[in-house]
């Protein structure tokens, strides 16, 4: 990866606060030209530094919530194999591999209704083999959600 300059970092910060700004608006904020901003955004996408332009939704207002699975995989199992199964599950939205008590932390999108949520969680769990330890957290509130 080529080294990023200061303007790249500023651009990433600004876009993380509002990804709908036009090239013209971004250029004004950064004191540069539209063309240069367009090229930079393109570069950041190509390099994979920007993975996606997205929205942060209020899940509760859409009648959803997250269930977080904290998974410790058995020492005899391949963590990446377990992660692969979870990654391919459409309701698993955020999948993180971790160093610590648990190896895998998975955010699963489930209905706000706790009974339906439990069913959905069971659906996901029964697809995974080799679990040594598992904790399920139902997220009741998300007071802060930023990415950078």
């Amino acid at each position: 990866m080529r080294r990023m300059d200061k303007v790249d970092l500023q651009l990433i910060k600004i876009l993380s606060q509002n990804s709908r700004l036009t090239y013209r608006e971004l250029a004004e904020m950064l004191g540069t030209t539209r063309q240069r901003v367009a090229r930079k955004v393109d570069k950041l996408k190509k390099l994979g530094i920007i993975r996606k332009f997205t929205i942060i939704p209020n899940l509760e207002k859409l009648n959803y919530m997250y269930a977080i699975l904290l998974i410790k995989v058995k020492a005899t199992e391949n963590i990446y194999q377990v992660a692969k199964v979870l990654k391919d599950h459409e309701d698993v939205k955020i999948l993180e591999l971790g160093v610590g008590k648990y190896n895998i932390i998975a955010h699963v999108l489930v209905p706000k209704d706790i009974k339906k949520a439990q069913e959905k969680v069971n659906d996901v769990i029964k697809e995974i083999n080799g679990i040594e330890d598992l904790e399920v957290e139902f997220v009741s509130d998300i007071p802060k959600f930023e990415l950078l």
Copy 2:
């Protein structure tokens, strides 16, 4: 909250895949007019259903990672008070209140360097009172990151 219609839901889905699409592009995809799309996006923002337009960055390429704090607050403590302190900390990016073994799940943005990461985590922990149980997970990889 007023009931959302099918087009609102489609709009949310599309924007979560690409939040930079113009009103014109969105209108074409949804078979409606630019004006109607603009009004809908405005409404979804006002109702707080869209919390933010943002980007998902590749943290690793920016030399950062997440540390996840799994916190069980003492029964005698006020969870919301603890959450408030964490929310106000600028390095705490995602703050979730949970029902389960842990009450609070916090994603902290830390340098990729494990020694500096540990220091940053300690900075955050020492500000919180009333912890009964704490696990720290360092996120080594994020194979999937979607929000909806």
